[in-house]
């Protein structure tokens, strides 16, 4: 079984973002970029499936500018066998990403496609569900455990009330939650080897998908700042302030 993993280039999760003075967007000039943390988990899961003999090949795919090949190289260093780069400089919304990924799924026919549950830039949490809909597949979102059994996959999902387990017919789509696994670090020899692995470059046009969105961002603003920073010296003072100043306890 082939496993396809979708990885996205996003701002590093440690970076504190700034809104541009003209409120058109977030300022990404000279900001450290990285693989979306949920996509790292997706790559790790795919590689583990291969190590367990469940998957025969792991293919990483990204949609984005030329620089996104850095994230494909990371995926290759972590154990993906080859990569596909759908190159575009345009902003790609989740529905467009899902349409492009659907075309790659049509070509590659993976048994499983694994995505992150959410991009930490847009916080959309949509692409996997959309891809599953477009491909007519079942979806195991927010996965914290994945078990392939014959022609089905059993997925334990993190839901608001606890955990839910579903069984999906293969091929299927999975999106990863934080506790699915702990991604490994790429070792230097693997990083060197990854440089020789193939990256196949395609363009949205080749795939017959128009990169247009029905959504337009009119403005991006900073949220209201909290006026925090006040300290209290003792538990007594804390209780007094909560009762008499903030009036949030009786």
């Amino acid at each position: 079984m082939k496993v396809l993993v979708a990885v996205k280039r996003v701002i590093d999760y440690n970076v504190k973002i700034r809104v541009k003075p003209d409120h058109s967007d977030v300022d990404l000039t000279n900001v450290k970029m990285a693989m979306n943390p949920f996509c790292e988990i997706a790559v790790e899961e795919a590689v583990r499936l291969k190590e367990r003999g469940v998957a025969s090949e792991v293919v990483a795919v990204t949609i984005g500018p030329k620089a996104a090949q850095e994230q494909l190289r990371t995926a290759l260093a972590l154990g993906a066998d080859r990569a596909i780069h759908v190159e575009t400089d345009d902003k790609v919304e989740s529905l467009t990403a899902a349409k492009l990924l659907k075309r790659v799924v049509d070509d590659e026919q993976p048994g499983l496609t694994i995505l992150g549950k959410q991009s930490i830039d847009t916080d959309n949490n949509q692409t996997g569900q959309m891809l599953a809909a477009l491909a007519g597949m079942g979806q195991g979102t927010f996965a914290s455990e994945v078990q392939v059994e014959g022609d089905r996959v059993q997925v334990t999902r993190e839901i608001d009330g606890g955990l839910q387990t579903v069984s999906l017919k293969l091929p299927a789509v999975i999106t990863t939650d934080l506790r699915l696994n702990e991604p490994r670090y790429a070792k230097l020899p693997d990083i060197m080897k990854a440089k020789k692995k193939p990256i196949d470059v395609k363009h949205p046009d080749d795939l017959g998908v128009a990169v247009a969105s029905s959504l337009s961002v009119l403005k991006v603003e900073s949220p209201a700042e909290r006026q925090g920073g006040t300290k209290v010296a003792s538990v007594d003072e804390l209780v007094d302030k909560l009762k008499n100043e903030a009036k949030v306890i009786a």
Partner: protein, 308 residues
């Protein structure tokens, strides 16, 4: 405008979130219907019918919707969506599972975690873990939204909408329910509690979370946690507050042994009053706390419990 709100329900009970989603629908304006999809959901439909400002309750009661799996539920909603300009659900794990699937079936964009309505086609939503707020306009004929419930005050239960069964059976050959492990607690729900007390890695282990119990009892609080505390296995995943956990906006949030990473702040910085208890006076949580207490939680918590 006509708006379809997807009811959220668990164990035959309408979830509180639905009343908040109806409020968001009212902010958009227009006729509001509610869809109740599930198995044996007449009680849910009755509760939904009481929500103020709702025209009609449509009930799809069938075993195929038993666990509200995404595949049949999205197909059902997509089949009804042509009669509506907007379809709304709560930005819960349920809403987030189903709604993007609906949007893709209808070939339209989806908007997640909407926190404000500027006009029927323009909405506010947080991006980058809430460190920026985007105003987004949609040109789709159908708008598919999930709504952050803490951003909209619930409508009251003063209505009396008509209830109508709809015959909308679909097949589901893609997915099957296997089982569910749901946390049970006598405490208020995290998302709607007036007070939330959360513990982080500083709690040291799961046993020590009992130190929060007495305080939560006295304040009628829900108990939450940071990701580090969940990852370390101190407490289950449904307690996680943050960018990728639950979003809370209580009157009072008490963060204990939590450093204040941006991903955690994303889930609680809309609390009215924030208290931080941390032994490291440099911890970033103090920058957002209205009342910060520098100290060892193992000394502070018993004293706080006794003085409340």
């Amino acid at each position: 405008m006509s708006i379809l709100v997807i009811a959220e329900h668990h164990n035959g009970q309408l979830a509180g979130s639905t009343a908040h989603v109806v409020a968001a629908a009212q902010a958009i304006g227009g006729d509001i219907d509610i869809l109740v999809a599930g198995e044996n959901v007449s009680g849910v439909a009755e509760s939904a019918a009481k929500l103020a400002g709702v025209g009609k309750i449509k009930v799809a009661d069938d075993s195929v919707y038993a666990h509200q799996l995404a595949e049949p539920t999205a197909e059902l909603i997509a089949g009804l969506a042509d009669d509506y300009s907007h379809v709304l659900a709560a930005a819960s794990t349920q809403g987030k599972n189903v709604m993007p699937r609906v949007a893709a079936l209808k070939d339209v964009a989806a908007l997640s975690e909407v926190i404000g309505v500027e006009s029927p086609d323009t909405f506010l939503r947080p991006i980058y873990a809430g460190n920026a707020i985007a105003t987004v306009q949609s040109s789709d004929a159908l708008k598919v939204l999930t709504v952050r419930t803490t951003a909209f005050d619930a409508v009251e239960a003063t209505g009396s909408a008509g209830v109508e069964a709809i015959d909308a059976t679909v097949d589901n050959t893609l997915s099957q329910f296997v089982d569910e492990e749901l946390a049970s607690s006598d405490r208020p729900e995290l998302g709607s509690a007036r007070v939330v007390v959360s513990g982080g890695r500083g709690m040291g282990n799961g046993e020590n979370f009992k130190l929060l119990d007495g305080i939560a009892d006295k304040l009628g609080a829900a108990i939450g946690a940071s990701r580090a505390a969940v990852d370390a296995g101190f407490v289950p995943n449904d307690m996680q507050v943050g960018q990728t956990g639950k979003i809370v906006a209580p009157e009072l949030y008490i963060a204990v042994g939590i450093s204040g990473a941006i991903q955690h702040l994303a889930g609680m910085k809309d609390a009215k009053v924030i208290v931080a208890i941390n032994k490291d006076e440099e911890a970033p949580i103090f920058q957002v706390a209205d009342y910060g207490l520098v100290g060892d939680l193992f000394e502070v918590l018993p004293e706080l419990e006794s003085k409340l």
